[in-house]
Symmetry: C2
Subunit: 239 residues, 2 copies
């Protein structure tokens, strides 16, 4: 049952499927104004499409952005998923510690991850640690992960149920999930999970969830460039 322990410092995001385009937003907006000629013509004209989408975002007419769907396969540590799943306008299916044996894959920060917190709670920033602080972190984490995984395997080998044995595993354990969101919910997610230090509406996400958010953002920007542009122009506040 025992497998080699693997350490990762990255997260991965794959766009599995989507039904999401700027045209979907225009068509949904049109429903509100059916017959109003100005809007009926916009779909054909790229400049006017951008204008309408910017208008909807600026005026916070959010609902036309909802008739879209993006499904991502995300691989990240459990502590990231705990924050992620607080976003309620989304559908989730996650790997289960009840129904399968979990693999020993654990998070250890890369050298680039700033380890030292400065400033007050809520609005703090991070600084690099010293090489010694990094070494202490890596060693402390590996020590804990190895014993946790050994304990897990010992219980499984003794015949204990997976759902009981897994309680020893750390929140650094990698998990995976499908998550499906519409563009409005995704913009709300991005507005909270990417940092906007110094902006009028600052946001201080934990770096590891921001790493996931950045990869989702890149896919979103490709699928819906006008909507993405409007989101940027609105100070990255979701409509």
């Amino acid at each position: 049952m025992s497998e080699t322990v693997i350490y990762r410092d990255d997260v991965s995001v794959e766009l599995v499927k989507s039904s999401a385009s700027d045209a979907d937003v225009i068509w949904a907006a049109r429903v509100s104004t059916a017959g109003e000629q100005s809007l009926d013509e916009i779909g054909e004209d790229p400049a006017r499409s951008a204008g309408l989408i910017n208008y909807l975002a600026r005026e916070r007419h959010g609902s036309p952005f909802e008739h879209t769907s993006m499904t991502f396969f995300v691989s990240a540590p459990i502590f990231v998923f705990r924050e992620f799943m607080r976003h309620r306008i989304a559908s989730y299916n996650e790997e289960s510690g009840r129904y399968r044996e979990l693999k020993p894959v654990f998070y250890i920060p890369s050298k680039e991850r700033k380890l030292i917190q400065v400033g007050k709670t809520g609005a703090y920033t991070f600084e690099d640690g010293t090489p010694e602080q990094f070494e202490i972190t890596v060693k402390a984490m590996k020590d804990a992960y190895v014993i946790a995984y050994e304990s897990y395997v010992k219980m499984l080998e003794a015949g204990v149920a997976r759902e009981v044995a897994r309680v020893v595993l750390p929140v650094a354990t990698y998990s995976s999930m499908y998550v499906t969101m519409n563009a409005r919910a995704l913009m709300n997610f991005l507005s909270l999970r990417t940092s906007r230090e110094g902006s009028h509406f600052p946001s201080y996400p934990q770096r590891e969830i921001e790493m996931v958010a950045e990869k989702m953002e890149a896919e979103f920007a490709k699928l819906m460039p006008l909507t993405y542009g409007a989101f940027e122009k609105s100070g990255r506040i979701a409509p």
Copy 2:
């Protein structure tokens, strides 16, 4: 920074506040039929109140049950909260590993918790383990928890940020939260998180979340006895 490690085998649930009564359901149902005399009179007559509430539950008219609110303070391990927070029609505020130092309180099953899983995935049942299996479990868990907590403290003492250091802590770590739900969402939660083995719609929750659900159910039954009775009569399926 280091504190004595504590082991718990229980969960706790406290009703913090509520605005939830059977009369709320009747009043909400009345809105749909304002002027219809039969319903207008029901509120005054206990037998007819029970009849109406049973009718609403049986016909799955769920919305009148939503104009109610119950706030619970729950203390349980993180692996329980991960399952809990998949329920989206609720409001949550949980203790944060980013914003505070976490206490070394960890879950170890009591002797009553059946440790051995039998039968197929999804519909399996549990049996008692042998005394040896219980001993192996307790020892494996304590070994993992002690090292995890030592690693956590070592990183904090080295000046590493709380949000980084906490990644070594197991999903057995106790957390606490406020959760607020309406009666309809609570019935849905109960229908999924208490077991209905052998029923037409079976449900196989992990025992530890069921322990939380049972305590919430007891509070709900006291606040809304007619609604609770109707829920029972409907086979514990939420309207």
